[in-house]
Amino acid sequence: MKRTSKAKTQNASGWRKLAPKSSKKPASFPALRKKLGVAGRVCILFMVLGLVGLGFWSLDKWFGANAAPFDITGPGAPISEVSFSSDGPLSPSWFANWFGPLRGRSLMEIDIDRLRKDLEAEPQIASAMVSRQFPSTLCIEVVELDPLLVLRLRRSAGGFEDWIVGSQGKLYQGFGYSPAQLSLLPSLAVPSRALKKMAAGDGFEDLQEIAILAPLLELAQRNYPSMYRDWKVVSYQLENPDSPAAHIRIQSGKVKDIRFAPREYAAQMERLHYILLEPDFRKKKVIESINLCHDRSVFAKL
């Protein structure tokens, strides 16, 4: 918007010098209303400016009081439900016991990556998947290790405790396994010197030799289940697997001593299966021993 100043200066000695500098008290109601309108607009302007200033001051105060990093996501809803599933005997109650109380825990505050790692650190758990299901559910899916053998150890205070032996030789006290389930597993017989306590915490170090014999047990469980069910005790001598004396010994109900070489399990199982079908072996209730360690030869004592 522009205005001309030249006319004003030229008329400085004219009528403009008579113009009042400020308007006086309104002489009519319309003039009063106009003045109030002007005053009102000035007030509104100052109010708006005041509110803007107050807003900035409040924000400054608030940010000053809250120096911590600003969490833009917010704390989120508290966990109201945990969905736990496993392919093994671990139950939601186990997880609840393991996880601790839910109260006060926010879904967003849970470090799900760390939770997963902690779960996978459990000896019974092979892998875990942790996820958030909004608004307030924590979902856990675990895949457990398949138990291979049972190791019964005598307690110093008396009694026994059963340890599960995994296919990688991991020793752990399984949770959720019923005695019936454990009774289906062969027992492991190892000299006490083979068990080495872990440096930190309770437990034993992994039995490295188990990894060598695990394929034999898995093959028997898978392909020769009736034979596998009869296997009672497993022991081994595998300090030097390449040594001719290295062997795996199975005590079963039918055969008191079955010896396997620590290699070519499929062929050995086939020979064992074949020889047990022989009439002489079939009509015997208990066979003393069968040795499958010597290539194609089978040494048996009825």
């Binding site: 100043s5 113009a19 002489a27 009519s28 309108g37 000035v42």
Partner: protein
């Protein structure tokens, strides 16, 4: 972006406010207009400030409401018998060595012309430029032309400080500024007499209620202005006194039966004053009304004729004599004017584009104010210094304070 401008006429009988919107292309459209009866004026001058202010403010408020906007400043019409016009002249030599006229030469001549101060207690109201003469030749725009001496004149109107201040105070009291004061007669003439008529020479007479303004144009420029303190109210007063009737009834008789030309005896009949022939009503001869009106109107034009003198020659007024204002609606007024002034007189019309509601003779002044205010009256070659209104100025305009 359109601009809103306002115009106010503080008339003896009515206060008028007009609000117009100027488009980007310079077109003017009227967006608000209001009229209020004014009881604070006598013969074009404010005698009761509060009453005059009430009327003007009410008209302004209604006009603003009608337009849906507010104005910050207005053009104000100035009239009254206190106004006097005189011709001011100034000259300046062309300063450049090659005798080429520059805008500065024109400005020096203008300053020289306006050097004369009015009498004590008086101030200049309006300066209307007359033709520029370059070496005895009338030139519209001498800038860039060769010459030795520039003569410049102004028809300057000065008025009584108190009378002027009263009008300014009325406007200021409504929290408005006055853009400019414009003589009522010039405003009316701007509306009803186009550039062609003004160039040909014309006399415009604005017959108001309290005063009669007139302006005479020669070669497109104002040659004379005057204010006669006689108007329609005086006719009413004459009827009231002459026929011994109350003024309201006198006004009614004037409007219903008044005519400026006298009636023949055989055309006379009686008319009832009140009209319902009840107790108190009486009949008066219609001829008596016409005679009273004729005398006053004839006297008015005789005064104008005497004041203009030799300027009233027909050869100077090829554009004719125009009548406008509320008083021009009186029946037979143009015949009386023609007889007294010795030349054809006609009622002024309005240019095309003005609605019928607005194109009434009594609105010619207030309409003319807006049109005159929009015209460029600066000196040739004058690049006016335009002030850019800054952010604070715009803010001030928003809240309605400051200039």
């Amino acid at each position: 972006m359109s601009k809103i401008i306002g115009a106010v006429e503080i008339g003896t009988s009515q206060a008028k406010a007009l609000i117009g919107e100027v488009g980007d292309a310079g077109s003017l459209s009227i967006v608000g207009m209001a009229t209020r009866r004014n009881e604070g004026m006598r013969k074009g001058e404010i005698v009761d400030f509060r009453k005059a202010a009430s009327a003007v403010h009410a008209a302004l408020e209604e006009a603003e409401k009608m337009s849906g906007t507010t104005v910050d400043s207005v053009y104000l019409a100035q009239t009254g018998s206190h106004l006097r016009g005189h011709m001011l002249r100034g000259s300046a030599s062309v300063s450049s060595s090659d005798n080429r006229v520059s805008p500065h030469d024109v400005q020096r001549a203008a300053i020289e012309a306006k050097r004369r101060q009015p009498d004590e207690g008086r101030s200049y109201v309006h300066h209307v430029r007359t033709p520029i003469i370059l070496d005895d030749k009338i030139i519209d725009d001498p800038v860039g032309m060769m010459g030795k001496k520039i003569d410049l004149g102004y028809w300057s109107i000065d008025g009584d400080d108190q009378a002027i201040q009263s009008g300014l105070n009325v406007i200021s009291n409504y929290s408005l500024e006055v853009n400019d004061l414009i003589l009522s007669s010039i405003a009316s003439a701007t509306m009803v007499a186009g550039p062609d008529l003004r160039r040909a020479g014309t006399l415009v007479i604005d017959m108001g209620a309290g005063v009669t303004d007139f302006v005479l144009y020669r070669q497109g420029y104002v040659a004379y202005t005057g204010v006669i303190p006689v108007g329609g109210d005086h006719v009413t007063g004459d009827i009231s006194m002459g026929l011994r009737v109350l003024e309201p009834y006198a006004e009614k008789l004037k409007l219903e039966y008044g005519q400026a030309t006298p009636l023949a005896d055989e055309q006379a009949e009686d008319v009832w004053i009140i009209g319902n022939k009840t107790i108190g009503d009486r009949a008066v001869p219609r001829k008596a009304i016409a005679d009273v009106v004729h005398v006053r109107i004839a006297e008015l034009f005789e005064i104008i004729s005497k004041e203009l003198g030799p300027l009233l020659k027909p050869e100077n007024l090829q554009g004719g004599i125009l009548l406008t204002g509320g008083g021009s609606q009186l029946k037979g007024v143009e015949e009386v004017a023609s007889k007294v002034l010795g030349q054809p007189v006609r009622r002024a019309g309005f240019p095309t584009g003005i609605s019928d509601e607005l194109a009434q003779p009594e609105n010619s002044t207030v309409l003319g104010l807006l049109h005159y205010g929009l015209e460029d009256h600066s000196l040739p070659g004058d690049s006016s210094q335009q002030e850019e209104v800054g952010l604070l100025g715009k803010l001030g305009r928003f809240v309605g304070i400051g200039g």
